[in-house]
């Protein structure tokens, strides 16, 4: 299969093109704001102010970003092996079981630093478990990973409704949620981190799982670019044929990559459950798994791109709440539109501006080289 597009220099490939795609996505979102009869510039002002205007707002922005780093990494790891995991949503949801079990078991007798590692293991285990089946089905039975992961999202939702309304709910309570955790199930906030910069965290639930997310991002980078396994999975992602020829076991890679992806998605559950709610509620994931797709696409599946992309989406979530407060015509659903537009322009239409840009760059290069005779080399 010939590659239809010419190669661009790194700064254009990883900087300019994502930036242009992002700007177009926001321009279209601005059109929607105009259509609703509000001023897009005002909306942008409220969004940025709402996301960064105060220490508390920044705390919220980073709290959301933590969630999206996990899910973004989850989607990105699978992307590198040529797998599209739409199931991060369901894996994060099921991952919550691991967190809840660790907390319900130990929160009254152990401090948070004992419960936290167990909760990490639990969330990763349950997330990986939920991703194992689609991975295994793809590897051994040839069923399409996209379809199975979509189906598993719905199955996860049913499983969790069942568990939360019948099993994990305390006796005598009507609300579909676990009991509120005692001290041991509550993660410490990162107020000290913000106070270094002279900011007050206020009520923002920005907590220690942010550091775990950064650690996970570093781990993913090491795994993908500095290990033999990472090399194998990238080979498979680029060219399954070459991987097979090189003796790389596709089945093994598929299953392990999906489990890693699921584990990362599952760890997302730590942030809302132990960091904010201190209990597991119905639908606590709230679409974060799908935001992960947008984050991974925008961050070009590289941890160094995923962290800023996650912060951008954290800004959208926190600033979006502020817009909804200032401009009643624009509810938080605006974020869903922007998220969709980012997926569209940074993902499906990522090549739309590429021909124009490469032509532009080629012209600039040729004009700077104009005096020398050119060898067109056809």
């Amino acid at each position: 299969m010939s590659n239809p597009y010419a190669k661009l220099p790194g700064w254009a490939e990883y900087g300019l093109i994502p930036l242009i795609n992002l700007i177009v996505a926001f321009l279209v979102a601005g059109l929607v704001v105009l259509l609703v009869g509000e001023n897009p510039l005002n909306a942008a002002y409220h969004m940025i102010n709402g996301a960064f205007g105060r220490g508390e707002y920044i705390g919220f922005t980073l709290y959301y970003a933590t969630t999206f780093i996990f899910t973004g990494l989850s989607v990105a790891v699978a992307f590198h092996a040529g797998l599209f995991n739409i199931g991060s949503e369901g894996q994060a949801y099921i991952g919550g079981i691991g967190v809840a079990l660790a907390c319900l078991w130990l929160d009254r007798i152990a401090p948070w630093y004992v419960v936290f590692p167990l909760a990490i293991l639990g969330s990763a285990f349950f997330g990986a478990l939920w991703a194992f089946l689609p991975g295994w089905l793809q590897a051994r039975r040839g069923s399409h990973i996209v379809i199975t992961t979509i189906m598993f999202n719905f199955i996860a939702s049913s499983v969790m409704i069942y568990l939360l309304t019948r099993v994990l709910k305390p006796m005598g309570s009507m609300a579909p949620q676990t009991r509120t955790f005692a001290e041991g199930g509550q993660l410490p906030k990162l107020d000290w981190l913000l106070s270094i910069f002279g900011m007050n965290i206020g009520t923002a639930p920005f907590n220690i799982s942010f550091l775990l997310a950064l650690l996970a991002a570093f781990g993913v980078w090491v795994l993908i670019w500095r290990t033999r396994f990472g090399y194998e999975m990238r080979t498979m992602g680029h060219s399954p044929g070459a991987a097979r020829y090189a003796g790389i076991s596709e089945a093994r890679i598929t299953i392990i990559v999906m489990m890693l992806s699921g584990a990362l998605a599952g760890m997302m559950a730590l942030n809302p459950i132990m960091g904010e709610q201190f209990r597991m509620q119905l639908d606590f994931v709230q679409g974060a798994g799908f935001v992960g797709i947008a984050v991974a696409l925008m961050g070009r599946s590289h941890p160094a791109g995923i962290i800023p992309a996650a912060i951008l989406f954290g800004m959208l979530y926190q600033g979006g709440a502020e817009i909804a407060f200032e401009m009643p015509a624009i509810s938080r659903d605006m974020i869903v539109i922007i998220q969709g537009l980012v997926i569209l322009f940074a993902g499906a239409l990522e090549n739309m501006f590429r021909p124009a840009i490469s032509r532009l760059l080629a012209r600039r290069r040729s004009s700077s080289l104009a005096p020398q005779p050119q060898n067109s080399g056809a």
Binding site: V159, G340, L344, N351
Partner: protein
């Protein structure tokens, strides 16, 4: 007789909930057989339901609403087509994107235009579709066994319901008995061969995508103009994905698509009706299990435990003309 009556009621609601599934699954059939995967069925249906509800709400004309729904759905299909055929982008990413944009936009625009919490204005008699009573439906109601079947199931359905069931043989005829259908299936299996024969792969795929838009538009309009009177936010509630599951369950063939949709519709109707009632032999089944059953069945099928579902060979791969 009481059991029989329950069965009739159950079948009646099965048909009611199956219609959008059938239309959406047939929509998916057209694009996927042409090699364009479409997980944006949900979004297109939702967009069409909103447009249909909004236009019918303002004009109080069901037919204008239907037209608007179909147009919006075609427009969304063309976005998907542009991204996945012309721009050769990732078809799944494009489908996901459309689902999100529509999910957000229907709420924002609905709230801005009508200010009713994401609903469109209530529809009058003319604004929504009415059921069609076949002749003698009332007269034969008392006839044992066959009477209720005729008057409750065959009669008293919406025009769109009859249309949906008529679309099944029609789609089969188009796909298997016309030149267009042959080429459409060929383009999903081996686009290079179609290209060699001098037929435009791109234009064929665009036509398939437009067919998908029309059918999804009908499905959406059915939701907001026939099944209920007006649009409610998020009213597709995963039906697009169930339709996708049904399409796979039916191994991308039109008549099995209908049966798969009826099966999934039956499970849905059954789950609602039997909520809390213990079944003979198995005892009480949690309603969540019933709701998850279509997805579980599809996964089992995909795993190759009930036959083998082989997707169109060129599905999901953008066509690049070699130069």
């Amino acid at each position: 007789m009481d059991l029989y009556h329950t069965l009739i009621v159950l079948l009646e609601s099965t048909i009611r909930v199956s219609v959008p599934l059938i239309l959406a699954a047939l929509a998916g059939l057209f694009t996927e057989r042409a090699g364009v995967f479409d997980i944006g069925l949900e979004g297109k249906m939702l967009g069409a339901a909103f447009a249909a509800g909004a236009v019918a709400g303002v004009t109080q004309s069901a037919f204008l609403g239907l037209g608007a729904g179909v147009l919006v759905s075609i427009a969304l299909s063309l976005v998907h087509g542009y991204a996945s055929i012309t721009q050769r982008g990732n078809q799944i990413v494009s489908g996901v994107a459309i689902n999100f944009v529509v999910a957000g936009a229907t709420v924002i625009l609905g709230e801005a235009w009508f200010r009713q919490g994401g609903r469109t204005p209530a529809l009058s008699e003319t604004g929504r579709f009415q059921v069609i009573n076949l002749p003698f439906a009332d007269a034969v109601r008392e006839v044992p066994i066959l009477g209720p079947i005729y008057s409750n199931i065959l009669s008293g359905q919406f025009a769109l319901t009859y249309l949906a069931f008529a679309m099944v043989p029609f789609s089969w005829w188009v796909l298997y008995r016309t030149r267009f259908g042959l080429r459409l299936r060929a383009v999903g299996e081996n686009p290079a061969a179609v290209d060699t024969a001098g037929i435009s792969v791109i234009w064929l795929r665009y036509r398939a995508v437009i067919c998908c838009g029309i059918l999804c538009g009908l499905a959406g309009a059915y939701l907001s103009l026939a099944m209920t009177a007006g649009f409610v936010k998020g009213m597709t509630a995963g039906k697009g994905y169930i339709a996708l599951a049904a399409l796979i369950f039916a191994k991308w063939r039109p008549v099995p698509v209908m049966f798969a949709c009826l099966l999934f519709g039956f499970l849905d109707a059954f789950a609602i009706r039997m909520q809390g009632t213990p079944l003979p032999v198995i005892g009480q089944v949690p309603v969540q299990l019933m709701q998850a059953l279509p997805y579980i069945l599809t996964v089992i099928l995909l795993a190759g435990f009930i036959g083998k579902a082989t997707p169109p060979k060129a599905g999901g791969i953008p066509y690049v003309k070699e130069r």
